[in-house]
Amino acid sequence: MKPILKVQNLSKDFIKSLDLVAKGLNRIGQNYKEEVVHAVDDVNFSIFKGEIVGVVGESGCGKSTLGRMVAGILSPSTGSVEFDSSQANNKEIPSALRTQMIFQDPFSSLNPRKRVVDIITEAPIYHKLIPPSEKRAFATEMLQRVGLDPDTLERYPHQFSGGQRQRVGIARALAVSPEFLVCDESIAALDVSIQAQIINLFVDLKDKFDLTYLFISHDIGVIEHISDRVIVMYLGRIVETAPIETFVKQPNHPYTQALLTGVPRLEVGKRQYEPISGEIPSPLSPPTGCHFHPRCNFATARCKAEKPALRKIAPAHFSACHLNDEA
């Protein structure tokens, strides 16, 4: 089976170029260098049609930058994101519309000066997917799809609660019949009971419209619930990808193991936390070799010197750790 989305050698560097003073000082013999952050560093993965792929990692690991590149909002420094058009549900939709993004903050992602009906129909009218005369009927249908009352068509975003606004954001994304949705922390800003409603909505929509998701979240509980496959990132690199059962039961990479033990869980109850020490290092000067070695309990001299490659250790299970070579 061919993947619907293929990401190859994708990297994104953010460069802070030298200011005038530093340039001047360099001329008289000082040595100021440009600061470079490798936000995403040589990432490869594929996603198959109908899959929900979760991306987890701590803040600063590059998961949002990855999502933005997949959605086409950021252009990659090197590498490519390929979408297989032959597997599209609706081949008449322009390829630029096939990937849509749903953002974290339902407050800043909607234009406060537009009515819901215009927010939803702006893109489809512009791209001539619907004639302007059908705008109200179309918006009504979209609102019903995401479980909102069509009476709210004429309202402004501030007249909605957080959960309802997130539904408007989803309706806007669905309005151009996308094949692929990138959800970047889409439920992180919502209350627990509303979170559950939106998660259920995502799953329903996937089944109804044959969608594929890249689901980015720092919340491992949510990722475990919704994803089929998980990508774990640390400082711009993928450290492990695994099917969800393997991720939960036999995580391979020491970082994945540490993440999983840190998750608060209802069913575990009161317990002693045994956290991993240290913090995520600055991406401006990442550690040599394996990025995780300063925090890793199993680190050896090799981990410090050599970057581990992401290698297959079981069917569909990849991990970037030197320890796997010794076993």
Binding site: S161, D191, E224, I226, P264, R265, L266, G269, S277
Partner: protein, 326 residues
């Protein structure tokens, strides 16, 4: 054991132009020394205002209109501002969600910590206060505290800042710490570190801890007892283990069903439909009735009282679902 803090029928209302908003409406609970109590609720449930009321930090148009907050035999709500100043930051300390709310960005950590000590103890010398600050920083797991004392808040990462604000809260060995969403802004691994420090500190120093959060899973891991709040009232309280094993109030059940866990993979989450009603016009009767599957006519006419259903277990519901009853 005699409780350190005993809140009885606390009512904190906000007198707004649109009407009276009953943010906290008859909350009662107690905390014993060394005990960790979780106060759980969604945004707008009044959990933070409960914490602010204890600290005497409710600003107009908000006002504590009834009830008493008994802290070691004294009623805090009757104290003058000066008297409260002596207790705040000294006997009761607070940790906020955003550590930058606690820390002054233009002062060294050292200055801020020494100030917090000297404010409550005029006789202590600067040098002694500095030594105590250093030791407290070490206590919350900050390495090389001597050097870190000279740093400014922006030189710390988010997790480290939160440790500094915990250290400041611990400085005067308070009897009670109120922590308002202290780990919500932190990453999972850092959250684990902070929770583990807090657990250790409370055990070692017998400090009572009120942990305010929206995250039931965090509370399940740290607290001894839990109070669940909805629309300004406590709807259920009891030992954590009992509530997790057997939630009685329909809201607590819904809240637990909403937390994704490994055992429910592939099944839809048990969601609570609808949303929290506006606090300005709560329905007559039970505030949860319009989202409740068990609601009947009685629920929409009479406000249920919180009732003792077992030792240390209270629930505010007329129809505790069959099968959940003790």
């Amino acid at each position: 054991m005699e409780p350190i803090l005993k809140i009885n029928n606390l009512q904190t209302h906000f007198f707004t132009k649109a009407g009276i908003l009953k943010a906290v409406d008859g909350v009662s609970f107690e905390i014993a020394a060394g005990e960790i109590v979780g106060l759980v609720g969604e945004s707008g449930s009044g959990k933070s205002i409960t914490g602010f009321s204890v600290m005497g930090l409710v600003d107009p148009p908000g006002k504590i209109i009834d009830g008493n907050i008994n802290f070691k035999g004294k009623d805090l709500s009757a104290l003058s501002n000066d008297q409260m100043q002596n207790i705040r930051g000294n006997r009761i300390a607070m940790i906020f969600q955003d550590p930058m709310m606690t820390l002054n960005p233009v002062l060294r950590i050292e200055t801020q910590m020494i100030e917090a000590i000297q404010a409550h103890d005029g006789s202590i010398s600067r040098e002694d206060a500095r030594i105590r600050s250093r030791d407290t920083l070490g206590l919350v797991g900050i390495s090389s505290p001597d050097e870190r004392l000279r740093a400014y808040p922006h030189q710390f990462s988010g997790g480290m800042r939160q440790r500094v604000s915990i250290a400041i809260a611990m400085l005067n060995r308070p009897d009670l710490i109120i922590a308002d969403e202290p780990t919500t802004a932190l990453d999972v691994t850092i959250q684990g570190q902070v929770i583990s420090e807090m657990q250790k500190l409370c055990r070692e120093t017998q400090t009572a801890l009120l942990w305010i959060t929206h995250d039931l899973a965090v509370v399940a891991g740290i607290a001894d007892r839990v109070c669940v709040m909805y629309a300004g009232r406590i709807v259920e309280q009891g030992l954590v283990a009992d509530i997790i094993a057997n939630p009685m109030h329909p809201y607590t059940q819904g809240l637990m069903g909403s937390v994704p866990s490994q055992n429910q993979r592939g099944k839809p989450l048990q969601q609570i439909d609808g949303m929290v009603p506006s606090m300005l016009n709560l329905p007559v009767g039970c505030a949860f009735q319009n989202r409740c599957n068990y609601a009947n006519e009685k629920c929409s006419n009479i406000q249920p009282d919180i009732t003792q259903v077992a030792d240390g277990r209270q629930v505010r519901c007329f129809n505790i679902p069959v099968g959940q009853r003790l």
